[in-house]
Homo-oligomer: 557 residues x 2
């Protein structure tokens, strides 16, 4: 003990020598890094960590089904084990993973099918599922059980873990047998996670996933064995995500350099035509005339950084056709309507589908908004109801970091009073906003919030205004009906007494007077109602506000 | 074009075959990953990105100097180049980097000297400086220029970049020559960064770094060539960070497994004694008796996960001596006083140094708080002043993500009214809180905020209360003096008129009455002042609140 102390003291005094400095350098694997920095991948807090796990598996399942045009059936089972351990099972009917790739997909960080894709998929990082494997390991020491079938009559099972030092998969307990199972089944045990039905929990995550994915059938078994099925509302499978070529206005110098390095084109000029959208030979000529000193007939690999920079600058000077928007896959008006009717059974529903727009000059996106009122709408807090703003990016629920999100910002900029949503906090209202783009500008770490780019916020605000106007009309009508009912009740309540009083004064029988008075009352309220009907002023006012906002946006732009 | 379209259509229709699935799997380097996910490392927003760069280099410089007991002199130069590019130069007088390690340190992510250390250092990830190199590359395509000398008469220069595909360093333009230069000089060019003097900018970062590091001399050249020197306030170099052994109550099963794997001890029993603090042979016996089924005389490498889990559970049942706290390196009361007097020239200053405590049972930490009032204290907004809460972890300023931080939470829980800080938002007040620990429980990605663990928040609140009590007394005194002055002025203002009025009524000369009235007025105010002096009630009340809070914390714990 004393010796140890002395050694420590000695260490404290000396300045390090070259040799010591040299020896102190070490290298680490990406698995070691994320083992220490789990919060970067969404693993902070028990409830949220479990939601992150569910999210990783469910998005992979949905992506896999979409790729193969399969109607997804996904089953999530969460059970509590002793010592606050949890078992999570996720099973889907997707394409499955070939035996050869199970290690890469689930036992090696930064490997997968999606990393460099330019298609609208939910997952993008090649890290989620493998990190889930690592998370099981570092919290319970247990490997993850995998069962997979491609639908060719053979089923493969194994247990997979990540070798932390090398970031290589380790596979044990392999089994292969004949069977009909097609899809993927993951079973793993985790600690340092937790389950509840709060707005950050796995239940809410699945409920919202169901809202935005009406073609999917999701079921959840909760730790208390309660089974919830979020039924499929539609059999229309969304389009398969397409790879899209970038628009010249949507890329950075660094992107351009990367693309030039791997292009199979023989010249910079043909590289621009073949690897970008909306670039024609004529446009290349125009570019060449803007930068005569740069020879665009050289090989793309010879493109220097400064030349790429100049190209990007000159892209801004050329007039381009806007990018194609057919790679965008919104949920769609019909589907959203089916979905919300199916799950929320609202009294009133309005869905707004906006036309695709472009941000940063070259990145297409679109926004869809639905507002549901009444029925099961709103967040259920005990018996009470709270208005809820549910945010989505490419149909994936964004549960965390609401404060930093373009969707929240657009919503906050609405004048709720004008839309009869002043009491939003206590109203049975669900607002759904889905941001659709091949490239979602996420803020911060994880994929939790959409960066508040001006074009994006404006577009979301427009969609919200349009939907809210309709809801406002409905709520206005409700309020009016209530008011009329109230007036009628007041009239009728006193008619008996008035009739009696009149009998005393006039000598006429109350029983004769009463029906006469009732008739007068009815005529009077009907007249008032007729006068108020339509109330076109209120709607006109909201339209005016929208126009005004449109004007402002135009002037800014 | 048409052909391209047709190929895309075709791609859309088909479900992927086994062969296609297999081929779609790819692997990526950690450099590629972070190239796409820069926001995970603090690179979001132009101003913040530049601050992050300054932060990475300055913390490395401070760590390097501390290791070698050198008084740091760090010079930061930021200049603006055409096209919104910026050049950043950071030069220090630290140990320098051996030629052999320059590539690892600056051109390879996840390599460095700090990753697995258990010492209180600023940097911990082995990623910061190398990512800065990558950031220069992906925004301007330029390598980073390095100059380094170990003080042995030779200077080494080179240009370094990261090969993104392999995450390996690429070194060019090497030069070696005789020279006296000792330390490290980094020069790089970045785009997508910005500079201003806001509270998130590089200037503020350095100002706060100076506050918490009085032994360092920092200078900054801003883009407009303005030079600011934050002068050294003290020549006392902080202790060199020591590696500390973990306390049995501060580790997880996963940590224990990792340690067992690499231990040089021959038995689990001796591993526990040699690799942990506060574990004696007797304690091992006690543990053995709690888990007789597990043979602790086996090799540490043979420790199974379930056994490690049982050990961690039994650690909770044994009574341990609290961990040593001598590895904690606070700024210190004297140093903080010197620093704040030097930089803020306050009218009133209170520094509170709390004794080390322990969170999660086994992780030592301590909190120091300083409150400065008047002089240059507070945030300067034009000519106005704003109260500021400056947060630090191990002397590193935390500029971002204030909302999620234990320090902010503790501050918000104070009743500012009671501490005469009701007008905090517009007062010339600087509050400094430094959280000191070998293991800082950061929340979220980056190192921006401290997790609001209960013990941590309570301890910070205590320190704040204690310091605020002193400031409150001072402010109270100020307010009283003002009130007395006001009373006096009112008295004297009317004495002339009262004297005149009395002359009319009584017939006595106003010139005789006036001095008499003045005397009465003076006696009266003096009497009032004497009555109020000391005002022990107010101080007693604040002490009572602290005691009450202490009681609450105890009862919770």
């Amino acid at each position: 003990m004393a010796e140890k102390k002395a050694a420590q003291e000695k260490e404290t005094e000396k300045a390090p020598s070259r040799d010591e400095l040299e020896k102190s350098f070490k290298e680490y694997s990406v698995a070691e890094f994320f083992k220490k920095n789990r919060q970067m991948l969404g693993y902070s807090g028990k409830i949220r960590s479990l939601t992150t796990l569910v999210h990783e598996f469910v998005t992979n399942s949905l992506d896999s089904c979409e790729d193969a045009k399969i109607l997804p059936e996904i089953r999530v089972e969460i059970s509590q084990l002793p010592d606050e351990h949890y078992r999570l099972v996720v099973e889907d009917n997707g394409t499955g993973i070939p035996k050869k790739n199970v290690g890469q997909a689930l036992g090696k960080l930064l490997a997968g099918t999606k990393f460099s894709n330019r298609a609208q998929k939910r997952g993008q990082q090649g890290i989620g599922a493998a990190y889930a494997t690592l998370f099981a390991q570092i919290t319970t020491g247990k490997p993850t059980k995998v069962k997979t079938g491609l639908g060719d009559g053979r089923v493969y099972e194994c247990q997979v873990s990540v070798d932390v030092k090398s970031n290589e998969p380790s596979i044990t307990d392999e089994k292969e047998y004949a069977g009909k199972f097609k899809g993927l089944r993951i079973e793993a045990e985790y600690a340092e996670v937790g389950y509840n039905r709060s707005e950050y929990g796995s239940y809410e995550y699945l409920r919202r996933t169901a809202l935005a994915n009406p073609h999917a059938q999701l079921s959840l078994v909760e730790p208390d064995n309660q089974i919830t099925v979020f039924p499929r509302a539609s059999k229309d499978i969304p389009n398969k995500p397409k790879n899209v070529q970038p628009h010249p206005l949507g890329i950075t110098t660094s992107d351009l350099m990367d693309m030039a390095q791997v292009s199979s084109a023989r010249k910079i000029s043909s590289f621009l035509v073949s690897d970008f959208t909306r670039v024609s030979a004529d446009k290349v000529k125009e570019l060449q005339s803007l930068m005569p000193a740069v020879d665009l007939e050289r090989a793309p690999k010879a493109l220097a950084w400064s030349e790429a920079e100049e190209l990007v600058k000159n892209f801004q000077k050329v007039k381009w056709i806007a990018p194609e928007t057919d790679a965008l896959i919104p949920i769609g008006e019909d589907q959203l309507e089916k979905s919300l009717k199916n799950l929320l059974e609202p009294e009133k529903l309005k869905v707004v589908e906006r036309k695709p727009r472009v941000f940063r000059g070259g990145i297409p996106f679109s926004v869809e908004v639905a507002i549901a009122y009444g029925g099961k709408s709103g967040q259920h807090v005990g018996d009470a109801r709270k208005g809820e703003l549910t945010r989505f990016a490419n149909r994936v629920p964004l549960l965390f970091d609401a404060g930093n999100c373009a969707i929240t910002e657009a919503f906050k900029s609405l004048d709720l009073n004008r839309y009869d949503l002043k009491e939003f906090e206590t109203m049975p209202v669900t607002i759904l906003v889905n941001f659709v783009s091949v490239y979602v500008p996420y803020t911060g770490a994880g994929k939790l919030a959409i960066s508040a780019e001006e074009e994006v916020v404006s577009e979301i605000k427009f969609a919200l205004m349009e939907a809210a106007r309709d809801i406002s009309q409905y709520l206005h009508g409700l309020a009016k009906a209530e008011e009329q009912e109230r007036r009628r009740l007041i009239f009728f309540k006193y008619i008996k007494e008035i009739a009696q009083a009149l009998e005393d004064v006039t000598g006429r029988k109350a029983s004769v007077l009463e029906p006469k008075l009732k008739k007068i009352a009815e005529e009077r309220t009907a007249f008032l109602e007729a006068q108020e009907e339509g109330d076109p002023d209120a709607e006109k006012e909201l339209e005016d506000i929208e126009e005004q906002f449109e004007e402002e946006v135009k002037n800014d732009g």
